[in-house]
Structures are given as structure tokens and as C-alpha cells.
């Protein structure tokens, strides 16, 4: 739908095609698909693709966190695939500490994200996501014994995130997690 032929728009178009390449093949590989998005149409409009890919990055980040937490492995490549900047920093930081303290996670979160805005409208590069993430089945354990770590409140948390087109891929750049019971 981009009709202008400025270099910037051309770059965005190239970037978008990279996104499509990057996101479609993993989803065929059995990765969790985006939740709460419009179903892709044979000729998806740009907003729809953008939302789908941004949400795929969002859920991909949390799923990658859950996968990496089972090791725990702060260097898991999937984390870098779906998160960057402050978002990646936070998750890697937590995994470093988990590893140091002998903590692993089991299970994973259940997310229900949706897009609240995508800018700029004609060729979005930044998408705001809101979610009500549920950690009920995402538990922490002592790695040595598998023992569930008690006093570990879990539940539903209101989460907001900013997903940005980053080097041609949608990646979560920042997120903010509310208290348990905030949604």
C-alpha cells in the first residue's frame, strides 16, 4: 500500500518483507502463534500483518523466556530473536540471577495480547501491546531438587509492551508488568 517512492519508504518495504520471512517460517515450525489477532488473509493488509507480527514477537518473547528459564540460559538465541534493548536486558538479567541462585522455571505464561496502537499508520514501525499475562502455570523451582519455590505468588498481570521494527524484525523493546491481580 506504500505509494510514495522515497528511500525511507522503500527501506520500510524491504524491512517488512524481511519481517514476513522471519516470522512465517518459525510459525510453521510449531511455534506458538500470536494470540488474539486477526486471522491472516491471503492478501493481508499492512496493519493486519504488522499487528500479527508484533504480537508474534510479544508472545515469542515470553515463550522464549519460559524456555530459557528451564535451563536457565541467559544466552538463549530465541530471546534475541524476540526481544531487544531494555526488554532483553531485563529478561537476561533475571535469567543470570536465576542461574546464580539455582532457580529454574517450569511451564510458561498464558498471554492474551492485543495491539493498542501502531505508528506510523501507513507503515508502522512501533506497536503498543497490552496483555493480561497469567503466570498461574509458570512456576519456579530449585534446580538441584526440583522443589517448588514457595511464597511465589502467581496470577494475572496487566502488561504493556512496545514492539519495534528492529533491523527488519519485530522485537519487544520495552515492557512493563503490573501487580498480580491487575487484570
Amino acid at each position: 500500500m506504500i505509494t510514495r517512492s522515497t528511500p525511507r519508504a522503500a527501506l520500510a518495504l524491504i524491512a517488512m518483507s524481511l519481517v514476513l520471512a522471519g516470522c512465517h517460517s518459525p510459525s510453521r515450525g510449531g511455534r506458538p502463534g500470536p494470540l488474539g489477532t486477526e486471522s491472516p488473509s491471503p492478501s493481508p493488509d499492512k496493519q493486519g500483518v504488522t499487528k500479527r507480527d508484533a504480537l508474534a514477537a510479544y508472545t515469542g518473547m515470553w515463550n522464549a523466556f519460559a524456555q530459557a528459564g528451564q535451563v536457565p540460559d541467559p544466552d538463549a538465541p530465541d530471546l534475541r530473536r524476540y526481544a531487544t534493548g531494555d526488554a532483553l536486558k531485563r529478561i537476561v538479567g533475571v535469567l543470570v540471577v536465576y542461574r546464580d541462585q539455582g532457580v529454574v522455571t517450569q511451564g510458561g505464561p498464558v498471554d492474551d495480547p492485543s495491539v493498542t496502537s501502531a505508528v506510523p499508520a501507513d507503515a508502522p514501525t512501533e506497536v503498543d501491546v497490552v496483555d493480561c499475562g497469567d503466570s498461574t502455570n509458570w512456576t519456579k523451582h530449585k534446580k538441584a531438587t526440583g522443589e517448588l519455590i514457595q511464597n511465589d505468588p502467581r496470577g494475572r498481570r496487566h502488561i504493556t509492551a512496545v514492539v519495534k521494527l528492529t533491523d527488519g524484525l519485530w522485537k519487544v523493546n520495552t515492557f512493563d508488568v503490573g501487580d498480580i491481580g491487575s487484570c
Binding site: 523466556f65 519460559a66 528459564g69 541467559p74 544466552d75 530471546l79 534475541r80 532483553l88 536486558k89 531485563r90 529478561i91 537476561v92 538479567g93 533475571v94 543470570v96 540471577v97 536465576y98 542461574r99 546464580d100 541462585q101 532457580v103 522455571t105 505464561p109 499475562g133 503466570s135 509458570w138 519456579k140 519455590i149 514457595q150 511464597n151 511465589d152 505468588p153 502467581r154 496470577g155 498481570r157 502488561i159 515492557f175 512493563d176 508488568v177 498480580i180
Partner: protein, 280 residues
């Protein structure tokens, strides 16, 4: 990763009551990513203020919290890149857990590696020793003046303390990685006899037992009144004793002494002229 060395360094900001610490788990993985305070905003390369970083130093209720730092060695290049890069200059990455005065992990402390340009000070065992000292429960002083009943002028009075009043005491203060035990040992008892005289004894004294020659003096802690207490307030002398305790501490491969403690006790003692007994 299996061979990673762990260096536990503790930092006491203000010592707290707790001996046992809870597991440092206080959130789900979602929550662990949260940095509701400045902790997560510690920028790589920021000059570390280990004494203050992220620690609530309020001293309400007579106690603050403390933080425990664990040095994170051998972080991979990928990890370092995600954390914002290895800062230039000297310093190190630390895993920090902070506790409040009750030993609970403080809610607002992020589960987060921090970069400190200067190592956090190790737990100062001498400071921890002060905490241990304050936990010492020294026994109350129970005085025994024998023979039972009124003391007699010119006859030996045996001064002694209940054994429980003269017994080494110890207490241990612990923060993760370091324990310090303070031990108080009684060294001397200064008896004020109420008639202006004092007696210094270096032990709890020996109780007089029936059958002992009344004219025999205590082998280690005694006195002989030379006047009656008839003129004293209430007709009795107030006999008081002050026990001095030597306090030593040991822990973390160090040790030392702490300025001493004292305990005191007092009893009224009536001293009668001996002829009263003879005539009686």
C-alpha cells in the same frame, strides 16, 4: 558454568535481627523482571555506591536491612551485550539480594545484576559482633550471703553468687555467608558491702554450707563486718555486687574483644552484734 566460582560478599548496612533467612523468591517470572525502583536503572559504568545502592536505610524501629552481593563471574559475551555491554574500567557484576530488618526480601529490590565499580565491602565481622553482643542475654544476679540470716560482727560472711549468675554466655549473629559469635565471660565481682567497704572477687564465691566452722573464712570471697547495721537505713546494709563480663567475638576468621558488660544485683543484709547472739 558448572565451574563458576562464587564469591559471596555480604554487606551490612545496618544489622538486623534475623538469623534465618527466607528463600530469595518473591515473585513469579513476570514479576522478577520488574524494577519498580532505581535498581534496574543502574547504568553500566555508573559509579557504584555499595554502601547505599538500593538499600533502604531507614532506621525506624531500631533496625535497617542489609544486602548480600554475589559476584557474577564469567558472564558470556552475549549476556554482557544484553546487559548493556561490559563497562570500561574496573568493577564487577553482582547479584544482589536485599533484606529488611526482619529478614524478608524487600519487595522493591529487583532480581537484577548490578555493576559496581568498587567491590561492596565485605561484611565487617566486628560490626556483626556488635549485633551478636546485643543478642547476649546475661543472667540476672542472684546473691547468696551466708550463713543464712543475720550476719554477725566479727564473724566471717561468705559472699557467693548463684551459679547461673556466673556462667559464660554466647550469642551468634548471622547474615548470609558470615556468622559471628560473641561470648561473655564473667571476670570479677565487686561487692559493695553497704558499710563503705568493697570486696573484689574473681569468681562466684563459695556458698557456706551447714556444718562448716562458723569461724572459718570463705576460701575465695568473704568479708568480716566490724559494725552492725543497726544505724543503717532500715536497719540493714544494702549489699550490691557488680559483675564484670569480658566479651570476645569470633567469626569469619577474625576475632576480638568488645568493651565489657556488667550485671548488678543487690540485697539487704542485717548485721548484728555478736553478743546479741551469744545472749540469745
Amino acid at each position: 558454568m558448572l565451574s563458576r566460582k562464587r564469591t559471596i560478599i555480604g554487606l551490612i548496612v545496618a544489622l538486623a535481627l534475623s538469623v534465618l533467612l527466607p528463600s530469595p523468591a518473591w515473585a513469579d517470572p513476570f514479576g522478577d523482571t520488574q524494577c519498580s525502583d532505581k535498581t534496574c536503572n543502574v547504568k553500566a559504568g555508573t559509579s557504584g555506591q555499595p554502601g547505599n545502592a538500593g538499600v533502604n536505610q531507614t532506621t525506624n524501629n531500631g533496625g535497617g536491612g542489609w544486602c548480600v552481593y554475589t559476584k557474577l563471574d564469567n558472564l558470556s559475551p552475549d549476556t554482557l551485550a544484553a546487559l548493556g555491554g561490559q563497562p570500561a574500567g574496573p568493577g564487577g557484576w553482582y547479584d544482589r539480594i536485599c533484606y529488611d530488618a526482619n529478614g524478608n526480601v524487600t519487595q522493591w529490590t529487583a532480581n537484577w545484576p548490578v555493576w559496581l565499580t568498587t567491590p561492596p565491602p565485605a561484611v565487617n565481622p566486628a560490626v556483626l559482633a556488635r549485633r551478636a553482643e546485643s543478642m547476649l542475654a546475661l543472667p540476672s544476679v542472684v546473691i547468696r550471703v551466708n550463713p543464712a540470716g543475720d550476719q554477725l560482727v566479727q564473724l566471717p560472711t561468705w559472699l557467693s553468687l548463684d551459679p547461673a549468675s556466673w556462667r559464660p554466655q554466647s550469642a551468634t549473629a548471622t547474615v548470609p555467608g558470615v556468622s559471628v559469635t560473641a561470648t561473655a565471660t564473667p571476670t570479677q565481682a565487686v561487692w559493695s558491702m553497704g558499710d563503705g567497704s568493697s570486696v573484689v572477687c574473681h569468681g562466684p564465691g563459695t556458698p557456706w554450707t551447714p556444718g562448716t566452722d562458723p569461724l572459718a573464712a570463705s576460701p575465695d570471697c568473704g568479708y568480716k563486718y566490724t559494725r552492725s547495721s543497726a544505724g543503717a537505713t532500715g536497719g540493714a546494709f544494702t549489699v550490691s555486687v557488680t559483675i564484670s563480663w569480658n566479651v570476645t567475638w569470633a567469626g569469619a576468621g577474625q576475632g576480638g574483644t568488645i568493651p565489657g558488660l556488667t550485671t548488678t544485683g543487690a540485697v539487704p543484709v542485717r548485721v548484728a552484734e555478736s553478743q546479741a547472739v551469744i545472749s540469745g
